[in-house]
């Protein structure tokens, strides 16, 4: 009997050990507190000009790959790099599975690619935790032109006045509509609700609009109606202002009044599917919608238009990802050379010609079909990555919103209260 108890205790202990994971590999003090700047590692020292063509070495590049087309596009960009900088050998490491989790364990062990993708979603946490190398000295010493990056993308990767990443591409949320049912896309939110009223019951529509029960789209409408999540200097919640509350209520009322349904209510995986199947006529998605529609619903007639303007004018939100350099990298100079090529005009053009990504800088040609996405970038605000802990805020809003929709109570107050409580918690 004692033996058995002991075994059980050990099984339980094993559970804990398995869960405690991660920590086991990061003994305290294995790596410095991120103080090593470019100056310490090579010719990028302050004051001396940096010439990328003089650098040689080997660089590993960590990337996710969500489709074969994405892999092909990256190969094309890297081929361009190899032709221009033959002294630097780039080895691409595609991270399979959960990219974020895999990279975090890599940071913990110190065995991390030199340069890698950083999604806006977790950029604030990665900057705060000191995973990323500041790029300001490289940018200054080489005189790399960052002025043509759209601020809605580039701002996500800045913290405390330092730049930790340069956007490799970017997306804005646009309105996509069924051109058979909607002849003139609504240009204002008032026109949007009028158009939705007129669409009720037409064709195979289950609901005129498909909306995500989340800030991942709702934030655009919050901004468009003069509301906000945070105050101007991002130090306190502003979701409880009258404008913000009214915007949340407006979003809920779309569902309440039968003008919109969530993908879950429609029985679709996401709003793109709802548009493709004819369940909804108007949805709000980014450039990724194009590839999905071309693939899955090639016969559907649809088009992008800008998100309708609200009382605060035209607003939309961005989704982006950057290249970052690991603080623990031993090849930072060579990694920077790769970065300045891939986020420069030539490399970005090769990358975006693949048709699956949209340029994040204004001096790169816009691939066909993404004109509206790029037009939105002129005035877009970051849709993620503007505060640490945003995934928790997003979750708090989404959970409360879904509860209001499921219970058919449609009141903005609990949604606002839950969101504010979570913002207060993560900001403190």
């Amino acid at each position: 009997m004692r033996n058995r108890l002991l075994t059980l205790g050990m099984t339980a202990a094993f559970v804990l050990a398995a869960c405690g994971g991660g920590g086991g590999s990061s003994a305290p003090g294995t790596s410095g507190p991120g103080a090593t700047g470019p100056a310490a590692t090579g010719p990028a020292g302050t004051g001396s000009a940096f010439d990328p063509s003089t650098i040689s070495g080997e660089v590993t590049l960590g990337a996710w790959e969500s489709s074969p087309a994405e892999g092909t596009a990256l190969e094309a960009a890297l081929a361009g790099f190899a032709a221009k900088y033959p002294n630097i050998k780039v080895t691409q490491e595609t991270v399979a599975g959960d990219y974020r989790v895999q990279m975090v364990t890599n940071f913990g062990s110190g065995d991390v690619p030199d340069i890698f993708y950083v999604n806006a979603e977790y950029a604030p946490e990665w900057m705060r935790e000191g995973f990323l190398e500041p790029l300001d000295d490289y940018i200054a010493n080489q005189g790399f032109d960052t002025s043509t990056f759209y601020p809605g993308y580039a701002d996500v990767f800045k913290s405390d006045g330092k730049t930790f990443g340069l956007p490799k591409d970017g997306n804005t949320i646009a309105m996509a509509y069924n051109t058979d049912l909607v002849t003139t896309p609504p240009a204002t939110l008032a026109e949007l609700t009028t158009a939705a009223e007129g669409l009720k019951g037409q064709g195979t529509l289950k609901a005129p609009l498909c909306i995500n029960p989340s800030l991942d789209r709702g934030l655009a409408f919050l901004y468009a109606q003069g509301g906000s999540l945070l105050n101007a200097d991002n130090t306190a919640a502003a979701i409880d202002t009258a404008e913000s509350k009214a915007a949340v209520q407006w979003y809920l009322d779309l569902v309440k009044n039968g003008l919109a349904m969530t993908p879950s209510q429609l029985g679709d995986g996401w709003c793109g599917e709802a548009l493709g199947k004819g369940d909804s006529a108007i949805v709000f998605e980014g450039g990724w919608l194009k590839g999905a529609m071309d693939n899955d619903f090639p016969d559907m007639n649809w088009a992008f238009a800008e998100v309708p303007a609200g009382s605060a004018g035209k607003v939309t939100i961005t989704y982006t990802a950057a290249y970052g350099i690991a603080v623990d990298s031993e090849n930072k100079d060579a990694a920077w050379v790769v970065m300045q090529y891939l986020t420069g005009t030539e490399g970005m053009q090769k990358w975006t010609e693949g048709g699956i990504a949209v340029p994040s800088r204004s001096d790169v040609p816009v691939p066909a079909g993404f004109e509206v996405i790029v037009a939105g970038a002129e005035y877009a605000k970051p849709g993620s990555g503007f505060m640490p802990g945003y995934s928790d805020v997003l979750k708090a809003f989404g959970d409360a919103f879904v509860a209001e929709v499921t219970n058919e109570t449609y009141s903005a107050d609990p949604v606002v209260a839950a969101t504010k409580a979570k913002i207060d918690e993560v900001l403190q």
């Binding site: 058995r4 804990l16 869960c19 405690g20 991660g22 029985g267």
Partner: protein, 304 residues
């Protein structure tokens, strides 16, 4: 003389287990103690300990409403899933323990879901339970919709998308996939029951029904204890199905948020490793307590 021989034998025994024992102490016990240590700190995965917090991580955990949902969900899941799966497993074991034709085939068939990857089978389940999935189609075709309508589920109910049915969908999925494993455990226990007991019962006039409830079921007590314990430990560790069906948020509306998923979030989404280790400690305590309680309930489990 004899004593020396015994000692040598013991030494040889220890020598044989030395290597696995050291690995076990370092990799299991060592990391467990290390996790206890980490749980007292604000811990950066790259830089290590940043600030000593004492028990603050634990205070925060216990006051977090999402953690409370996670505890509730994990306990609900365990409380329903373990008895359900035990019942199915026992039933299957009794069936395939009969001398029936092709019983090897049935044993293999019932065990089959257990060897399939949990990720693959969860994705399959999600497809089956989609609003326009096979499950809704079949119940429509069988004319069962009025029955479902009566308990509040429309013909296109989104089983994983609705927070009232998401967890139950996972429970049924896992009862199906794990019952084969439980069947195997029960089968081993069933075969350890001597035939003499059944013969004695038959002489006393017990029919099959009585024989099962009055002879087989009580004699399976060690089997019950083992299966229940393994089940409770596994149940409280529910993770992969919840992550796949409800993302790391435990969507919809925290209905699939479990303790381990909460821990995963704390570690890999919030990068709060000290806090995550503290969640691990809490989970350890929960499982340890549950096991002790079971021990009490089942009493002495050594077969007579």
């Amino acid at each position: 003389m004899k004593r020396v021989g015994e000692r040598q034998e013991a030494l040889a025994g220890y020598a044989f287990i030395a290597v696995p024992m050291v690995l076990f102490l370092v990799l299991n016990i060592g990391t467990t103690l290390y996790a206890f240590f980490i749980s007292l700190w604000d811990w950066n995965i790259r830089r290590g300990p940043e600030e000593f917090l004492g028990l603050q991580n634990f205070e925060r955990i216990l006051s977090d409403p999402i953690f409370q949902s996670a505890i509730r969900n994990s306990i609900y899941y365990t409380a329903i899933w373990v008895p359900l799966t035990m019942a199915i497993g026992l039933f299957l074991a009794v069936v395939v323990n009969q001398k029936i034709r092709g019983r090897t085939f049935f044993r293999a068939a019932f065990y089959f879901p257990a060897i399939a990857s949990s990720a693959a089978i969860t994705v399959l389940w999600i497809f089956l339970l989609q609003p326009d999935g096979l499950f809704n189609e079949i119940r429509g075709a069988l004319g069962l919709n009025p029955l479902f309508q009566a308990i509040g589920y429309g013909p296109n109910h989104n089983w994983f998308g609705d927070y009232r049915t998401a967890m139950n969908s996972v429970i049924i999925l896992n009862a199906w996939t794990t019952s084969g494993t439980f069947m195997l455990f029960y089968l081993a226990s069933l075969q350890s029951i001597s035939n003499d007991v059944y013969e004695a019962a038959a002489i006393d006039g017990a029919g099959p029904w009585d024989a099962f409830w009055k002879v087989t079921f009580p004699l399976l007590k060690p089997g019950h204890f083992f299966v229940a314990t393994v089940g409770v430990i596994g149940g409280l560790q529910l993770f992969d199905q919840a992550l796949i069906a409800g993302s790391s948020n435990g969507d919809p509306n925290n209905s699939l948020m479990t303790i381990v998923l909460y821990l995963y979030n704390a570690a890999f989404v919030q990068l709060n490793f000290g806090y995550a280790a503290a969640v691990g400690v809490v989970l350890f305590l929960v499982i340890f307590t549950a096991t002790l309680i079971q021990r009490r309930l089942f009493g002495d489990t050594q077969p007579a």
